[in-house]
Symmetry: C2
Subunit: 367 residues, 2 copies
C-alpha cells in the first residue's frame, strides 16, 4: 500500500473520482489545450467542445462495445428524470412491465404509471429486497411496450449478474435497463437490450449528466406531451445539442473514459470490482456475527454493499472512527439504516483493505 | 490595462467565467476545505455539500433581493427544458400569453402550445426582432394562466429595460420571465414577477444548471403528466434534492455569487454592463458604416450585441484576425449571421476596449 493523503470516499453518489482525472481537470481549468478557455467557458457549438464531445462518445462506445444501431445521448435529469422520460418516449401509452428489485425500480414503476398501464411483473419486496426474482417466474404481459429493470439497486445492494433474455422468455418487448450505479463496471449484452440509461454521478463522474443508449428502431414514438428537450428522437437528431448540454460534466466523463481505457477497459474494471467486493463480502460473512450483509449470495452487488452492525448502538462510534481513519461517507441510506460501502471503479483495492482492517479493529475494541 | 494572458471570450453561452472563480475551483478540485473530497465527489446529502448549497442560495437571494415568498429552485434542463416545465406547472391547461421578441420567446410560445392554449399577445417579428412591442399594444387575454416574456433575447440582442406592470395593464396574470442571459446584470422588480428562470450557462456559470424563482402561491398546480422530477412543488418541498442536483454546477454558481458580492453586487454589475455596452454601441453607431447594429436604441441589450459588417465578404478575415488578437467566439448565431459580442458580467471593460481597437484597426486595413 503506497502512501496516500486523500481519504477513501465510499459515497453512493456523487462519488469518488480517479485522482488522475481530478488533477487533469484542475490543471486545465483555465485553459484547455491552449485554447485560452476553460471547458466551462466554451460554446457547446465551438470546435473545441465538439472535439471533447466526440472523443467522449467514441471512447464510451469503445469501452462498452456499443453497436452502431444504438445512439448515445447525453442528457439531463438523472435517473428520476428518466423514470418519466422513458415512458414518455417508449410506452406509447400502452403496457409497461417492471421488475421490482429495490427502491429504484419501485420508483420507476410508480412514475411509469403516470404515462402508461404499468405493472410489476415480479417483485422481491417480500424478501426485503435481498433476492432477485427468477426470470422464469416473471409475469410478462403480451404486447408490453417494454420491460424495465434496474440492473443494480444502489440502496438495497442487489445486482443482476446477467441480463435476462426476454425472447427466450417468450416476450418480444424491448428491455429497458437502469444501469446507473454499475455502468462501466461490467460489459453489457446489447443483444438483450433496447434502451439503457445511467446517471453519471455514481460510476462515471459529475451529477447532472445522464447517458442514454437507445436502439434506433425505438425512436419516433414519443407521446405528444413529451417535452421537446427530453424527446429522444429530437436529442438524437441534434447530436445531444438541441439543448445546451451539461458541457463540463461531459468533459469530466470523457476524462474518466480515457482513464478507464488506460487502466485496461471495462474487463479490468470488472476484475477489480470482483476483487474489491469479494474481499468485503468474505469478511462480512466470516466475522463472528458482528457485521452482516443480508443479500443472497447470487444477488449481491459488486458496487454497493450495505451492511449492519448486530448492535446498532455502535453505529455512531463506527462512523466517527471510520472518518478518523480516512474512510468517508459509510452511513447507510436513511430508508434502510446501517452502513453502506459503495465500491465504484474509482475505489482502489487499498480502500477496501483499509476498511476491512478498520472493521476488524473496531470489533477488537467493541466486540 | 494590465498585462493579461487569457484571451477575451465573447461566447453567448456557455461563456467566460471570472478568472478568480476558475482559480478557486482548480485549487479546491481534490479537496474542498479540508474535507478530503472534491466537490464533485460529495454526496449531495452530506453536510459539506449542504453547506455549499445553502450558502449559494443565501447569496443569490441577497444579490437579487429575492423576497421570502419566492422559492429558489436549482434544477436541470436549461431554458428549453423550462419552455415545457413552466406550462406543465403553471398553465393548468388554460390560456398562456407570450410576448414574442426574438428566437427564444418564439420557441417558448411553440412549446407552451403543446400543453395549453398559447398565443402571441404581441410580436416584433415584423421588425426582424429589432424593436420591443410597447406594453400598451399587448393583447392580453382575460383569465390567462400567465404571461411569458424573455427579458433578454440572446440571439437578437433586444432587452427589456423595465419589466411590465401587468396589473397596470389590467391583467391579473402572473408574469413569467426568462432572464437566462442577463440575470445578475441588473435588479429584478419582484413585485411584477410570478416566476423567473435562468439557465446558468450565460451569466452565472456552468451549463446544466437552471435556476427557478417561483412565488409560493403559484405552486401546487402541476398537470398530471408533469414528470415528478420537474414538478416545482416537489422540487421545492425537497429543497432541490428530490433528484440528485447538478452539484458541481451549484458549487461554481456559488463561487460566482461570492465573487459578484465581493465586486459590489448587482448594482456594480449593472454599472459595468452599461459602461461596456455603451462603449461598443457608441462605436457601432459612429464608425462610418463599416459595422452596424440593427436594434432600436431603447431595445438594445447590454449583454448580447449582434453586429454586421456592411461587406459580409470580410467576415472570415474579421474572425480570424480577432482570434489572433485574443478575441474569441465572436461569430454570430447561425440564424442571423454576422457577429455577436456577448458582454456578460465576467467580461472586463478591457475586453471591449480591445475589441473596439481591433475593429478600428480592421477598418484601417479593409475599409
Amino acid at each position: 500500500m503506497t502512501a496516500r493523503t486523500r481519504p477513501f470516499n465510499f459515497s453512493a453518489g456523487p462519488a469518488m473520482l480517479p485522482e488522475e482525472v481530478l488533477r487533469e481537470a484542475a490543471a486545465e481549468m483555465l485553459d484547455w489545450h491552449g485554447s485560452g478557455m476553460g471547458v466551462m467557458e466554451m460554446s457547446h457549438r465551438g470546435r473545441e467542445f465538439i472535439e471533447i464531445y466526440e472523443t467522449a462518445e467514441r471512447n464510451l462506445r469503445a469501452l462498452l462495445a456499443v453497436p452502431p444501431e444504438f445512439r448515445i445521448l447525453f442528457m439531463q435529469g438523472g435517473g428520476l428524470g428518466e423514470n418519466a422520460i422513458v415512458p414518455m418516449n417508449l410506452s406509447r401509452g400502452g403496457l409497461v412491465d417492471v421488475i421490482v428489485t429495490g427502491a429504484w425500480s419501485k420508483k420507476s414503476l410508480g412514475e411509469a404509471g403516470r404515462y402508461a398501464n404499468a405493472c410489476a411483473a415480479a417483485s422481491n419486496e417480500a424478501s426485503g429486497f435481498t433476492t432477485l426474482p427468477a426470470p422464469a417466474s416473471w409475469e410478462l404481459r403480451e404486447g408490453a411496450s417494454y420491460l424495465h429493470l434496474c440492473s443494480n439497486e444502489t440502496i438495497h445492494g442487489v445486482e443482476f449478474q446477467t441480463l435476462p433474455d426476454l425472447a427466450a422468455l417468450g416476450s418480444s418487448a424491448p428491455l429497458v435497463v437502469d444501469c446507473s450505479s454499475h455502468v462501466l463496471s461490467r460489459s453489457i449484452d446489447w443483444s438483450r437490450v433496447g434502451l439503457a440509461f445511467a446517471g453519471a454521478q455514481k460510476n462515471i463522474g459529475p451529477a447532472g449528466l445522464t447517458i442514454v443508449f437507445v436502439r434506433e428502431d425505438l425512436l419516433g414514438h414519443a407521446l405528444p406531451i413529451c417535452p421537446t428537450a427530453f424527446d429522444y428522437t429530437v436529442v438524437a437528431e441534434h447530436g445531444s445539442m438541441f439543448n445546451t448540454p451539461p458541457t463540463y460534466g461531459i468533459y469530466i466523463a470523457g476524462l474518466v473514459f480515457q482513464h478507464v481505457l488506460r487502466q485496461g477497459g471495462v474487463a479490468e474494471m470488472e476484475r477489480r470490482a470482483i476483487e474489491r467486493s469479494q474481499l468485503l463480502y468474505r469478511y462480512l460473512d466470516d466475522n463472528g456475527g458482528f457485521y452482516r450483509n443480508p443479500v443472497a449470495a447470487d444477488a449481491r452487488s459488486r458496487m454497493n454493499v450495505p451492511f449492519f452492525l448486530a448492535d446498532a448502538s455502535h453505529n455512531e462510534a463506527f462512523l466517527a472512527g471510520a472518518r478518523e481513519a480516512g474512510l468517508l461517507q459509510l452511513k447507510g441510506h436513511k430508508s434502510v439504516g446501517g452502513m453502506r460501502a459503495s465500491l465504484y471503479n474509482a475505489m482502489p483495492l487499498a480502500g477496501v483493505q483499509t476498511l476491512v482492517e478498520y472493521m476488524k479493529d473496531f470489533v477488537r475494541r467493541h466486540g
